[in-house]
């Protein structure tokens, strides 16, 4: 189970709001290679893992990815405060704003909401670890 600690893993202090930047960074939250995918991948692969130590790594890394999810959300939250209507309308953020205003919603920069289709969980640890290598871009 999870305990929540009321602190970011690393501080986030954005000086200037920037909706244009937010509309790109949103992919790190809900895109195919973002933290939603990473955390859900590792945390779900661990159930069928036959090796305790590997289960440990999947659990601990998956948990850390949730902390990263929170940091990216913090970045997006701070990038989208106190915007004028003009700032919103004149940036790619306008499309996201239509459905979410300045809420933080896991979606890709393309507008596709986060999808578990980005994640492979096959019940075989070697297959799953290969998925992890590919997802982490560790396979050149």
């Amino acid at each position: 189970m999870w305990i929540y600690e009321k602190k970011l893993q690393f501080p986030v202090k954005i000086k200037n709001p920037n909706p244009r930047l937010a509309s790109a960074i949103i992919s790190q939250l809900g895109g195919p290679d973002g933290e939603m995918g990473a955390s859900m991948r590792y945390l779900h692969q661990r159930y069928s893992c036959p090796y305790d130590k590997v289960t440990g790594i999947l659990t601990d890394v998956g948990t850390e990815e949730l902390a990263h999810l929170e940091m990216v959300a913090a970045i997006l939250y701070q990038l989208t405060r106190n915007l004028t209507p003009e700032e919103i309308e004149n940036s790619p953020f306008a499309a996201y704003f239509v459905d979410h205003t300045t809420g933080v919603y896991p979606v890709a920069a393309s507008g596709v909401p986060f999808d578990m289709k980005y994640v492979g969980v096959k019940g075989d640890i070697l297959t799953d670890l290969n998925e992890d290598l590919a997802a982490d871009a560790a396979i050149p």
Partner: protein, 84 residues
């Protein structure tokens, strides 16, 4: 040390702990890493005790020290600029 500075220090120690835990997950027999882990845990424990004594905001819901007030839900929350 202010609560703000203490929180910074806690973030640093906790980051080191996470890295050490991940290392030990892969190399559970590394005695050096295990010793390092215990040193960090000890440092974290002392820091958290001093934060609680100084009346800093609780980091976990199980650390609401006040007997008269529920401070856990007080702002700022971690994504608010004031908390960073």
């Amino acid at each position: 040390m202010s609560c703000r500075d203490a929180m910074r220090k806690l973030q640093k120690i906790d980051f080191s702990i996470v890295e050490t835990v991940l290392y030990l997950d892969a190399y559970p027999h590394c005695r050096q890493a295990l010793n390092h882990y215990h040193a960090l845990i000890e440092e974290q424990k002392r820091l958290k005790e001093s934060m609680q004594k100084a009346g800093c905001a609780p980091v976990c819901a199980t650390e609401n020290m006040s007997q008269t007030e529920w401070q856990w839900t007080d702002g700022p929350w971690p994504w608010h600029p004031e908390a960073n």
